[in-house]
């Protein structure tokens, strides 16, 4: 983005303006574009999640507003904005009001380092991964503030759970990422993507067994950080009513949900960048615009597939208990990720330039798991003998 701003200042429409003002204008413009993009992605995600859930549950889901309910999220958003913004009398009012914005800031800040394509990134920081991990940690402050200031015991429990959960799961996530970082030697998101190739066996997911394990640890830890099932304890509808968000209504509650669904895309984008080859495509054309567009689409689809997997997981798994959440983190994920990091380091020492047979082997393993999975799906279909419908929207 800096190059773009410099270009505009030197020869573009902003020529002649003071440099700082020009930068501010460009930043404001990109923030506006990005915010709209996030709203759209979060909104569509909320609708899609309901449709995916519905299909898994033999239902139809929202299909009335717009074609197949595609603008249901807009209707929900408008409804929420028009609702009364209730602040409980006994609440700690300044904190209560500020909490959703704080969560929003932490979440929005992370997007600065989320890549969309080759060169399509707001700021390619050289500490990109570290920055995202750090800045999303701010969301927990928002949720904790919401839980505390609501003056509601359910909300307090939810907020406390959230704090414990996010602080704990930062650790396995950070260690798992290191398995990739030792391979590339950079923390920059674009640098990590450039170190991979477009072909699946050039992805870090299949690079060696250790990155394969690291991917799953990272994904699980991110799910926990994003308060997704099976780790949705801060919200835990059947236990804590609505957890930390119990007392929120209207726009403020909407912001929390925006954070939740927007975060989902960040989870997908992070995993895609670090393990699934990011925006890498074959260099099939010299037209920079077309190539950029294809890269953007490829990256978006990969990320969105992971978002879809998160939805699918949410529809499948029950919720863990608080103590189990902690024991899963500290007894399983943290030790395994440490051992895994050690293994990844040894691997880099042994094969500094990668090891192709291992890559192909891992890729083959991935394909075999997928085939076995499809066989199980077929088995369940044969056993239940349901009415079939291949139409995805019916």
């Amino acid at each position: 983005m800096q190059q773009f701003a410099d270009y505009l200042l030197d020869e573009g429409i902003l020529a002649g303006l003071p440099k700082s003002l020009g930068y501010a204008l460009v930043i404001a413009f990109f923030a506006f574009v990005l915010l709209n993009f996030i709203m759209l992605v979060a909104g569509v995600t909320s609708w899609l999640e309901r449709r995916v859930w519905a299909r898994i549950q033999s239902r139809v889901g929202p299909n009335r507003v717009g074609p197949q309910g595609a603008i249901q999220w807009l209707a929900d958003g408008i409804k929420n904005i028009m609702k009364e913004d209730i602040v409980p009398t006994a609440a700690d009012k300044p904190l209560f009001k500020a909490a959703p914005y704080l969560a929003m800031i932490g979440f929005f800040g992370a997007w600065a380092c989320v890549p969309f394509g080759d060169g399509l990134i707001i700021a390619d920081l050289n500490v990109g991964v570290l920055y995202i991990t750090a800045v999303t940690g701010l969301v927990v402050v928002g949720i904790l503030m919401a839980g505390w200031s609501s003056n509601n015991k359910w909300a307090l429990l939810g907020g406390m759970r959230s704090a414990a959960q996010i602080v704990s799961y930062e650790i396995p996530a950070a260690i798992a990422v290191n398995a990739v970082i030792v391979l590339t030697g950079t923390l920059s998101m674009q640098g990590i993507i450039r170190a991979q190739g477009w072909a699946p066996w050039n992805w870090f997911l299949f690079d060696n067994p250790f990155t394969f394990v690291a991917f799953f640890i990272f994904f699980v830890a991110l799910l926990a950080e994003g308060n997704r099932t099976p780790f949705d304890l801060p919200e835990a509808e059947s236990e804590l009513v609505a957890g930390a968000f119990t007392e929120y209504s209207g726009l403020r509650s909407l912001l929390f949900f925006l954070v939740e669904w927007g975060n989902l895309y960040i989870i997908g984008a992070l995993c895609t960048s670090l393990f699934l080859g990011g925006w890498q495509t074959p260099h099939f054309t010299d037209n920079g615009f077309v190539l950029g567009l294809v890269q953007f689409v490829v990256f978006f689809l990969k990320s969105y597939f992971l978002v879809f997997v998160a939805m699918w997981i949410r529809a499948t798994l029950p919720r863990v208990r608080v103590d189990q959440l902690m024991s899963l983190c500290w007894k399983y994920l943290v030790p395994i990720s440490f051992v895994n990091l050690l293994g990844a380091m040894l691997w880099v020492v042994a094969f500094p330039h990668g090891f192709l047979p291992a890559r192909l082997g891992m890729f083959l393993f991935g394909i075999m798991v997928t085939i076995y999975f499809l066989m199980r799906v077929a088995f369940h279909l044969r056993r239940a003998r349901p009415e079939m419908s291949w139409n995805p929207i019916a």
């Binding site: 015991k153 099976p230 059947s238 009513v241 529809a315 499948t316 798994l317 029950p318 919720r319 239940a384």
Partner: protein, 386 residues
């Protein structure tokens, strides 16, 4: 593996815990997982409960008193409301109590119709119970799958008696209506479809590691405690006591059918834990399917209802009958003074006993466990209060 319960006081005295203030939480009457309107006053230390005190009476509708005002025939629709999740067995209990008073013999075909209706009712009730357990543990999909199958059962019962929830199917002396045309075929078809789905349901949720961890070793009710607290039905059988009214005090035509009484085995934890109670219900559904197949295949010819006068005046006396309802041994006590209205009616229900054990069970459990305990004890609020 030790059972999951944390003694807050021990932790505090040994200096392991942090001294915190005791928190009083009000769980219910409006809470997502207190099905119906239950209320618990939870004394908690952070996430750990010291105890949960059940507060009953939110759904009291004086059903027993109503019986004294509406007469024997007229009370039948009210019995649907005693336990609206499995109304068929309540119907049967009341009909059997009145028949015992007047010494009426039900035609064999009528008994078969009753068994078919009751077992479908049990399937529907257990489906709701296991589905709601999954829902309370946080898995949303099993609930809708269970409800989907329950809708099919409701369709079948609707065809049989015209209603989906408050059936009012049985009458004193038999059943209101005979099986409709094509009923046996459709019911068998449903069973063929449903039985593999029980396995699928097990693989989707019951064997899921997270689910097992949430239920196993939680809220263990030892055998002696279950008997002392008067638990009945699947809750009692989950503790390893093989007691089923259909076997131990046979009524209707149940002795003619072959079926097992599943009991808890402690397969994933301790005998009598929440998981055992849950699995007993899963297995009972299979047994109900077995009974249904036998009943549908062997249904005799004849009338479904005995001749009973419209103004029913049983002789002076009293009767107590027991039926195995979905929530266990359900007792129906009726006293007649020779008039057209009962002198006194009392109903003994399983959920009431299950409600009483919660305070004892809840010590040292987590708040998330209380939800699992309510769900696996299968408490239906209207049955607690009547």
């Amino acid at each position: 593996m030790s059972t999951h319960a944390i003694d807050v006081d021990v932790l505090r005295e040994t200096g392991q815990g942090i001294a915190t203030e005791e928190m009083t939480l009000n769980m219910g009457p409006q809470h997502p997982s207190t099905h119906g309107v239950l209320r618990f006053v939870v004394k908690a230390d952070g996430e750990v409960m010291r105890r949960a005190i059940p507060d009953i009476g939110y759904l009291h509708r004086s059903i027993e008193k109503i019986a004294e005002k509406v007469g024997y025939h007229g009370f039948m629709p009210y019995t649907d409301r005693v336990d609206y999740v499995s109304a068929m067995q309540c119907n049967q209990g009341w009909a059997m109590a009145c028949e015992a008073l007047a010494g009426i013999k039900v035609p064999r075909r009528g008994e078969y119709c009753r068994v078919i209706a009751s077992e479908f009712g049990r399937l529907a009730s257990h489906l709701l119970s296991v589905g709601a357990t999954g829902m309370d543990i946080g898995a949303v999909t099993p609930f809708t799958h269970a409800i989907r199958e329950r809708e099919y059962i409701n369709d079948i019962l609707e065809e049989l008696c015209g209603a989906r929830l408050t059936f009012n199917y049985m009458r004193i002396g038999g059943c209101a209506w005979d099986l409709p045309p094509g009923f046996v075929g459709r019911a068998t078809k449903f069973l063929d479809r449903f039985e593999p789905l029980i396995d699928e349901y097990n693989e989707l949720i019951s064997f899921n590691k997270i689910y097992v961890e949430r239920l196993a070793n939680v809220a263990v009710i030892p055998r002696e405690m279950a008997i002392a607290y008067n638990l009945v039905g699947p809750n009692l059988r989950g503790s390893g006591v093989k007691y089923d009214v259909r076997k131990d005090a046979p009524y209707s035509v149940y002795p003619e059918f072959e079926f097992d009484v599943p009991v808890g085995t402690g397969e994933r934890g301790t005998l009598g834990d929440s998981y055992d109670r849950y699995m007993v219900r899963m297995r009972e559904m299979k047994e109900s399917c077995k009974i249904l197949r036998q009943a549908l295949a062997g249904i005799p010819e004849g009338p479904v209802v005995a001749k009973v006068p419209r103004t029913f005046r049983p002789p002076v006396g009293e009767a107590y009958v027991r039926v195995e309802a979905s929530r266990g041994d359900m007792g129906w006590f009726v006293v007649s003074d020779g008039t057209a209205f009962p002198y006194r009616v009392h109903i003994r229900t399983g959920s009431f006993a299950a409600m009483a054990i919660i305070e004892e069970l809840s010590k040292g459990l987590m708040i998330a466990d209380l939800v699992a305990v309510i769900a696996t004890l299968d408490i239906v609020a209207p049955e607690v209060d009547r």
